[in-house]
Amino acid sequence: MKEQLKEIKQRGMNEIQKADSLKELEDLRVKYLGKKGEVTRILRGMGKLSKEERPIIGELANVVREEITNALSEAKERQEEIALEIQLKDEIIDITMPGVKKEVGVLHPLNQSVESLEEIFISMGFKVVEGPEIETVENNFDALNAPKNHPSRDLSDTFYITEDLVLRTQTSPVQIRVMKNAQPPIRVISPGRCFRNDTPDATHSPMFHQLEGLVIDENITLGDLKGTLDVFAKRFFGDDTKTKFRPHHFPFTEPSAEMDISCFKCGGIGCNICKGSGWIELLGAGMVHPNVLEYCGIDSEKYSGFAFGMGIDRITMAKHDIDDIRLFFENDRRFLKQFK
């Protein structure tokens, strides 16, 4: 029996050594260690042995079983390793192929500007308010101190619905609505659509967007206007941005100013964006005219304030170097996509 066990072990080890699949190893396990396997059979047949032989053979048989078991599991591990390697090799992919995308959309570039502008002014304590697109002539012109014969009131400039109603030509009437309904301190901005009787071309659109700002309180100065708008320009166009305030004329502010910023493209040296001047005209502003304050029931001796208005389309065009305002309203996906 000893010989038999030795022979089984020898044979088993050889066969395990030669096996090259998990299936073969499983077959060998059954063949040697299964219920009817050769080693099992010997262990079962031990009853026929003498008392003296039994422990010796028993021990030997157990050793053989353990060795075969170990050999089997080692071989199995090896085979699994090989199988995994093959699998990984089979699973090689072309990692340069395009990824599977879920397309997301994007906000309109003009509304992206509105969001950034709002964020800047909100951080300076401004509330965001809105007004109607169809306005009274009173709010759009009269209350804003526009002379009765001012050319901006002409049919060639303003869209009229009736003699008393217009499509607002500016966001400034929102100022009037705010001032009529609240007492200082007031600090608001108001973005929105505006309309002027302009035939569309690269720089004109009958519909465009403005953002209006208004601050009213005691002791508000022209210096405060400069300081506030300077902070805005730096936050929107970059910390290196310089501002320049030039005197100008608007009926509803006095003194009035236009603000230029140093060209963000060339930094002020002169380029195609700033037409060589180093400066870009950005917005109109001024101290709210006492006539306007009084019209809205605010004591112009006690309070003063400033207002400003900027073309959102214009600054968006400037910021992104867009050369045609009509692109904003054509809504071509190829255009919109670039603002993701």
Partner: protein, 794 residues
């Protein structure tokens, strides 16, 4: 307003270069838009004199000229006709560059040597519209003589920077050289010197030659007549012609040029009549009659509306006051006696007349902005001086001056501390006084402030605040310190409606939708294109009185047509699929002062992967984001824009929230889109009311759930929505979720039936459910489904 630098230097010493002048003027409120220099475009052009003209032996249309250019005599071949021997003219020498970029070289023209070129105005950078009529198609023939061979642009002052000023409507006093010079003087702090006016007066009086009567005193504030005798009408001297051309006015003849010169210099439009053609020797200013006909200088016969201020000879009209003269009394080469009119007309009158006749002139555009009546007499004298200088005419003594109500200077008191308070500055009273004095404001310094009398040409200085600006702009906006408002702290932020809007936009863009912006006005036909019924309220659109065109003539009542346009455009441009949305307003008639504006959300899409369900999914996800629950989709079969079988209205209880569906094939046809389009329009104003910005936390489940899958076979006509109503209503609160995971028709299912498979999850939040309890509920639901829809388990 074009201001040649050298013209300004007649009145104020300018010792800084033109760029610095531009910057400083811009900073004091006179914005310079551009600096031009006509002579930059050409070089190497000198004064030449034609010595001899001979025929060209090989060409009929060419001649050969010998021209003295100072240091030598050169031969030039030319096709020009308008010159003769002894003419002085500009000659471009070898190596010269001309305005069009032409380079001059010695060459042959039809076998004859040509060593230079005689130039036209055009070739020397003068815009075609400014070239005098007689020399339009020929060479520039000079009127006077000059040293030969001298640099043409230097000797004729063409080497000059022309500054183009943007003049704001409140400053008509700056629409002339003296006005600009005054601003220069205040800005660079140099003294302003007015022209000295003097001429020889004849012994006879103008009053003997002409009588003037102003009947229309509303339209005409002042009328001055001056009489000139023995005038010779001819082209102006070169300096005058060049001065006018630099300022953008075409030279005509010495009389008209002198009036234009003074208009540019003082801002006072002046008209010259041929007095011999005014048979009555009388000027009567009166209103026109309706239907009256009048032929203006430009040869156009015009029908008058009635009420225009007319200059007449008492019987027939001579000129439309302040707008344009008439052909009959025009100054011609034969004119000997001239009546100079320096008058003042009411801005509103002129504006109306100019608009009604559709006739805008240099004169009318100045009068409608406002001209100072005080300046009329100075300007009249100045014209006489210039004309006498040019033609040695007789200027009759005195002027006929009708000026019933002379303007008076205003007096305004301002507080210096108020000015400083508004500017955030500390400017001393004395400095304010200096600034205002430099602008010709009379200043009286008092203890409590300044007593001011602005000049009569400054109609814009009325209130204290107007002087705040004057002080600020000359003091310098750039030196006023920048500060932040130190006032009360205010809380900034978005209105909650805008927060909800932003949240909705985030949901939509993250689902692949592009935001678009379309016009608020549309074509009245746009709703018809969407098959909206004639009687529908959507047809009652608010109309613009003066639209740009039919396409943009009414305010929209729905966003769907605009969205269809967007889909159409993108489809035509080759996008195989597209998803877009817009949040915009619609406009509706109302009883209030203002029309009603409501905000709508429109979603539109097309593409192979899209269907009613993908659009519905987007909306469901949006409603989840806004935490709007319990929205029901009810079938809509009548809406003419939509597919009758693939459209639903959204309701919350009985409140209409919008419509979602596939666009009717007839509508997509009308838009020429060959793909199926899916469009939803939601009442965004309502969604804002219903939305909830709060986040709510619910504890995670503590007890296990029991899952059941069921597959029901029902008639095709049964909607899953109906089945789901039963699932909701008959599960006694223990059905946590249900999810439709399969709808099947075909093999194994009989014709007309479908199999619907749900995954149901039962859970009791309070305790562990027992199989028994679930089974009881589950069986009851199945029974209900069987009773209601004849549903059986597959």
């Amino acid at each position: 307003m074009l201001a040649p630098r050298k013209w300004l230097e007649n009145y104020v010493k300018i010792s800084i270069d033109s760029k610095e002048l531009r910057d400083r003027m811009t900073m004091s409120g006179s914005n310079v838009e551009e600096i031009r220099n006509l002579s930059e475009s050409f070089d190497h052009v000198v004064i030449g004199k034609v010595l001899e003209i001979k025929e060209h032996q090989n060409a009929d249309k060419l001649v050969v000229a010998k021209v003295d250019v100072g240091n030598k005599i050169i031969q030039i071949v030319t096709g020009a006709k308008n010159f003769k021997e002894n003419d002085y003219l500009p000659v471009a020498l070898e190596g010269a560059t001309l305005a069009g970029g032409l380079k001059i070289e010695i060459g042959e023209l039809r076998g004859v040597n040509s060593e230079g070129m005689m130039c036209s105005h055009d070739e020397l950078g003068i815009p075609k519209s400014l070239i005098p009529e007689s020399q339009k198609d020929g060479l520039w023939i000079l009127k006077e003589t000059y040293p030969l061979g001298k640099n043409f642009k230097e000797i004729l002052d063409l080497d000059d920077d022309i500054l183009e000023f943007e003049i704001t409507p409140n400053r008509p006093d700056c629409l002339n050289m003296l006005g600009i010079a005054r601003e220069v003087s205040a800005t660079i702090k140099e003294k302003l010197v007015y022209p000295s006016i003097n001429y020889r007066e004849a012994s006879n009086d103008a009053h003997e030659k002409v009588k003037i009567r102003v009947e229309d005193q509303n339209g005409c504030k002042r009328y001055i007549g001056k009489v000139l005798e023995n005038v010779t009408v001819e082209p102006s001297p070169d300096w005058m012609q060049i001065q006018l051309m630099k300022a953008g006015i075409r030279p005509i003849n010495n009389i008209v040029d002198a009036t234009n010169y003074v208009m540019l210099e003082y801002g006072q439009p002046i008209h010259a009549f041929d007095l011999d053609k005014i048979q009555t020797n009388e000027i009567v200013v009166k209103e026109s009659k309706p239907g009256e006909l009048f032929e203006t200088l430009d040869g156009v016969e015009r029908e008058l509306e009635g009420g225009e201020t007319m200059i007449t000879d008492g019987v027939k009209p001579l000129a439309i006051g302040g707008v344009m003269g008439g052909l009959d009394s025009e100054v011609t080469l034969a004119t000997k006696t001239v009546l100079i009119e320096s008058a003042n007309f009411e801005p509103d009158h002129i504006r109306l007349t100019s608009k009604q006749l559709n006739l805008r002139t240099e004169a009318s555009s100045r009068f409608e902005k406002g001209v100072d009546p005080e300046i009329a007499i100075t300007a009249a004298n100045r014209v006489c001086q210039l004309i006498q200088q040019m033609t040695d005419c007789r200027v009759l003594k005195n002027s006929v001056d009708i000026y019933p109500n002379p303007v008076m200077k205003r007096e305004i008191f301002v507080r210096d501390d108020r000015i400083n308070k508004m500017l955030g500055t500390n400017i001393p009273k004395m400095e304010m006084s200096d600034i205002l004095t430099s602008l010709e404001v009379e200043v009286q310094i008092l203890d409590e402030g300044l007593n001011l009398k602005p000049p009569t040409f400054r109609n814009d200085l009325v209130k204290e605040v107007d002087f705040v600006e004057e002080v600020a702009r000359i003091y310098g906006y750039d030196v006023i310190p920048s500060t932040m408002p130190t006032a009360t702290v205010t809380l900034g932020g978005l209105l909650s409606s805008r927060k909800i809007e932003n949240l909705a936009k985030t949901s939509l863009t993250s689902q692949g939708l592009y935001e678009v912006l379309t016009y608020s006005f549309v074509s009245p036909g746009s709703v018809n294109k969407c098959r909206i019924y004639k009687e529908s309220p959507l047809q009652k659109m608010i109309q613009l009185k003066n639209p740009l065109g039919d396409e943009t003539s009414v305010m929209r009542t729905t966003l769907i047509p605009s969205m269809m346009d967007v889909l159409d455009k993108n489809n035509k441009k080759g996008s195989s699929d597209f998803r877009a949305f817009e949040i915009g307003r619609t406009f509706h008639h109302s009883e209030e002062i203002l029309p009603r504006e409501t905000t709508k959300l429109v979603i539109g899409m097309y593409g192979d992967k899209d269907s009613y369900y993908t659009l519905k999914g987007i909306i469901e996800e949006l409603l989840n984001t806004l935490k709007i629950t319990e929205v029901r989709f009810r079938r809509e079969v009548h809406h003419p824009t939509y597919h009758p079988g693939r459209t639903a209205n959204l309701y919350m209880n009985n409140e209409y929230l919008g419509i979602v569906g596939e666009i009717h094939p007839k509508v997509t046809d009308a838009y020429d889109i060959e793909k199926k389009c899916y469009v939803a329009e939601l009442e965004f104003t309502e969604l804002i009311q219903l939305a909830d910005l709060e986040k709510h936390f619910y504890p995670l489940p503590k007890y296990p759930s029991i899952e059941r899958d069921i597959a029901l076979v029902v008639n095709n006509s049964v909607a899953v929505g109906e089945i789901e109503e039963v699932l909701k209503d008959f599960t006694e609160g223990i059905l946590e979720t249900f999810e439709l995971f399969d709808v099947y028709q075909g093999d194994q299912i009989e014709e007309g039936y479908k199999s619907i498979a749900y995954n149901l999850i039962y859970r009791d939040p309070e305790k562990t459910l027992k199989e028994k309890e679930v089974a009881a509920v589950h069986d009851k639901v199945l029974l209900q489904l069987k009773e209601k829809f004849d549903a059986r388990l597959r």
